[in-house]
């Protein structure tokens, strides 16, 4: 079995895995980081979004071996102890989640948006959410949350 090494939430990890292991399987099953979800497994829903070298990707549509040497950020790496990341806090404050299944993907996608556009317009946020499906909220509060999270991150 090939071995793979990457940095996940700042910590170096390596493991011997089957070559066909998806990045999301590696995160959830090998590393037990179950905050990243699998909604569809068909590249449509965005529940599995994590950041690879800063860019948001669907971890169900990438092999773990393709992330060799990369910096991976997942939802588990955002909070500092009991203090939520400003984007997480904004989702809490603005009711940007109900069941929470889509939320980690929404938050990780939002961080990639803010990286390129620190002050995104409502239109930009809505366009950016093209690949993140939510079955609960109707999106309005997610859009509000991301705008507020971006504002908090600008400080």
């Amino acid at each position: 079995m090939p071995s793979v090494s990457m940095i996940v939430n700042g910590k170096p990890v390596s493991a011997a895995i089957e070559a066909r292991t998806l990045l999301v399987q590696f995160l959830r099953e090998t590393l037990r980081l179950t905050g990243t979800h699998v909604g569809c497994d068909t590249s449509q829903c965005g529940a599995c979004v994590v950041n690879v070298d800063g860019r948001s990707v669907k971890s169900c549509t990438m092999l773990a071996v393709q992330a060799e040497g990369a910096q991976i950020a997942t939802i588990e790496g955002l909070a500092q102890g009991d203090r939520l990341h400003p984007m997480q806090e904004a989702f809490r404050e603005h009711h940007g989640l109900q069941c929470g299944f889509c939320t980690s993907g929404m938050v990780m996608g939002a961080l990639d948006l803010v990286r390129g556009s620190p002050d995104p317009s409502e239109h930009q946020i809505r366009e950016w959410l093209e690949g993140n499906l939510c079955r609960c909220t109707g999106y309005h509060n997610i859009v509000k949350s991301i705008a507020a999270g971006a504002k908090a991150m600008r400080g």
Partner: protein, 245 residues
């Protein structure tokens, strides 16, 4: 690749991995050329814009060079799928994997040349049928060279779920004439010569107002009937001509 019984290149994986999950394809080996830096990036020399095959859509959409020389191409890349798809899926994968995707319309509409490890192929000779290209076994697309046009634009009517084109029309105008490429509507991207001739005489949306688009050869599926697609081609073509810059 030479020693693999039935190998595939794995680029962005956004077509290949879903098809492996569904057991629609059974390759013996996967080869990821992702580490080859030469296959990635944008360069412009003379009137030619060259984009490496492993360049993801997001890099084309965000490239200042692409935006300055062929804005229609940057806009097309920015309209593919969603942000996460654009961060992974590549030009080479779109061109090699699916002759009804968005990029093939730009290649045909701009008269681009596909560079491989073995040869150069004109877009006109590259897209040859349903899921078929002129690529040989184990042949890899290394880059695509786009001649910079006077003006160009792409208009597409997207499917609601995937954003793939139900009908997409790319119009390119250069000193060599006008090219009109239609994607998503048939089994393979194609040029519409009637529209090209009409636009060569008068480059304005009204020039193609009355043209009838033949229905034969167009797809009918749960997204749209062939008749509806024929209608959409006319609408998208007029929109593209009006948007040309």
């Amino acid at each position: 690749m030479a020693t693999a019984a039935d190998g595939r290149f794995l680029a962005g994986g956004h077509a290949l991995l879903p098809s492996l999950k569904q057991r629609l394809d059974h390759p013996s080996d996967l080869i990821d050329p992702g580490a080859i830096a030469e296959l990635r990036g944008v360069t412009k020399a003379g009137g030619i814009l060259t984009i490496g095959a492993m360049t993801p859509h997001a890099d084309v959409a965000n490239s200042a060079v692409v935006r300055a020389s062929i804005p229609a191409l940057a806009d097309l890349a920015a309209g593919i799928g969603d942000p996460q798809v654009r961060n992974r899926a590549t030009l080479g994968g779109s061109v090699a994997g699916n002759p009804t995707a968005d990029y093939p319309a730009a290649l045909l509409g701009l008269g681009a040349t596909i560079h491989t490890d073995r040869r150069q192929i004109r877009a006109d000779d590259f897209f040859v049928g349903t899921s078929k290209t002129a690529l040989g076994r184990g042949e890899i697309v290394t880059a695509v060279a786009f001649p910079v046009p006077e003006k160009a634009a792409y208009a597409k009517f997207s499917g609601l779920a995937s954003r793939y084109a139900i009908a997409g029309v790319f119009v390119g105008k250069s000193s060599k004439g006008v090219r009109v490429a239609v994607t998503g509507a048939g089994a393979c991207v194609f040029r519409d010569l009637d529209m090209e001739n009409a636009l060569a005489a008068d480059f304005a949306p009204r020039a193609i107002d009355g043209l009838r688009i033949p229905v034969s050869g167009l797809r009918s599926d749960r997204h749209a009937s062939a008749e509806y697609r024929a209608h959409l081609i006319g609408v998208m073509a007029r929109r593209a001509v009006a948007a040309c810059r």
